[in-house]
Symmetry: C2
Subunit: 360 residues, 2 copies
Amino acid sequence: MALSPNILKHIRKVEPYVPGEQPQNRVVKLNTNENPYPPAPGVAEVLQSLDTDQFRLYPDPTAEVLVSALAENYGVSKEQVFVGVGSDDVLAMCFLTFFQSEMPILFPDITYSFYKVWANLYRIPYECPKLDDNFRIQKEDYYRSNGGIIFPNPNAPTAIYESLEFIEDILLHNQDVVVIVDEAYIDFAGEGKSALSLLGRYDNLLVVQTFSKARSMAGMRIGYAIGNPLLIRYLNDVKYSFNSYTMNQVSLACGVKALQDKEYFRHTVDTIMETREWAKAEFAKLGFHFTDASANFLFVTHPNYDANELFQVLKENDIYVRHWNSDRIAQYLRVTVGTREEMKHLFTFLKEYTLKGTGK
Amino acid sequence: MALSPNILKHIRKVEPYVPGEQPQNRVVKLNTNENPYPPAPGVAEVLQSLDTDQFRLYPDPTAEVLVSALAENYGVSKEQVFVGVGSDDVLAMCFLTFFQSEMPILFPDITYSFYKVWANLYRIPYECPKLDDNFRIQKEDYYRSNGGIIFPNPNAPTAIYESLEFIEDILLHNQDVVVIVDEAYIDFAGEGKSALSLLGRYDNLLVVQTFSKARSMAGMRIGYAIGNPLLIRYLNDVKYSFNSYTMNQVSLACGVKALQDKEYFRHTVDTIMETREWAKAEFAKLGFHFTDASANFLFVTHPNYDANELFQVLKENDIYVRHWNSDRIAQYLRVTVGTREEMKHLFTFLKEYTLKGTGK
């Protein structure tokens, strides 16, 4: 295992993103914001009906069936839709395509950790305006010259949703760069909350969403961007120059099917939102503080218990949540909203643990 | 659809690769080097047995099951295997990871057209030594200082295989850069032809292969690289910093299954090789000239017929082959080896056409 110094010198070295653990045994898994409910029942049917003999052929590089289904679902034209292998793929392509200025791009200091990773990977300069002490984005921080803007709404891991007026203010001050709103969790904020409704007025807005959360398809890797046809065209040019055939046949077929079942979608999303609101009350009873979560996860802290210790104790008891050892959020835990039963299991444990009073 | 000049200025503009047509109607499709036979029968079974409820969970980011199956299949360690969404994904990651020098990378002037696209996309300088008049790579062209080397073996679209001694000579003269042998078509060259056997002696060698050709799984997007564990680690670091979860659950399961059926694999590959050799004789009878193809396609030309005209006439008659309007190969057609029936259909047409004598 010996590589020459020249080879080692010219290898691109990056600090990779560390994904949440995927424990193999039977645990309460509230650590990667997955949906506790299975995908729409039609997905199983479509899988059974696939002709595997066709696997020998390349998939449609334009992903036409899925692009059309998304266009219809969101009332936009096909030319406004780009699809990729999860929203991570879509977002990485956006960074590569749109953030080519020498001005720094802007995103919050506390946000989806991949933004920094992509910026580093592609050598894109960036600055990270601080969230305020309540973990709110300060829109005025984005009123200055920059190379592009990206933020999730609701933000992660804070779970806080900012209004469409707020987003419009940022857009009004940034007509000269591409502004990306990463809406991985938007469906859990309720209906009519997406920045998609602003697309008609802002040609520089790009909205990115995913099948991994509200549509229960993390395992299938489907994400998409919706925006100005010209932005979508540039994005497709880069995608086709990277890999023409990224979406496999099964993802295309299952994705279309998942979109069709609007009733199931509404029902599972509503259930998760109800469970989340109930969980807020339970956390409050136990003395936890938390943000006003509008996602399928909560961001909680307890004045008497160290978050890292709590994280470890939960893990030892087969309850997985997420914790980051980074400055401003080191006392917080991110807890995915599971089924009511999973959450009850969590609260039963927390109740006993806090009764013991082994706090700070 | 109006974007500001600043936005337009800082968008990454690329000349995308144009994939071969995917005609929707019933045609003889010999234009994208797909396998005419379905994947191993076990693949259909594994698809039926998948639990779609699990689609709600992220796939294993390490692709452990598939990496292990590949390691076992090729008698290497798991640390030597990297997997991606088709070999295009794997190769693009390789360009991004290993070709970071300011010296130009080297690849043949006539070769897989994506190399140039990736080099442009990532702003990697490159030079393209010319194949000789018989479309052979001149190894001496690669005996000079460079930023890395990549070539397919067999080469595309020439279908010519170069020996392991030839590859070893290039490696001996290039210990100081990463040398990638792109073996998308290697199985059609016969057994024991892969540069995998050189891995033990050359730490800077990376061999890339795919499930899209010999394993009949173009529709599922699976590719892999095998090499020095250190190279694989750097590749994984970049992959994890781009998108942790690229391989979806279905690809992982189907990929493992396809690897297990060695008998089916051998049988279909042998059949395609037999059909290819028979097709060579048929082309010869009709006065075509061609390279000594070792891939699942042929590269043919006719002294009396213009290749582009022939390409068009074939297409009008629902027979799709591939043609490039580029200088040195403008008089050639790339013809994928289909089933014996498909090839007979092609030769019946060509026989009639050449009998009419409407040549140059």
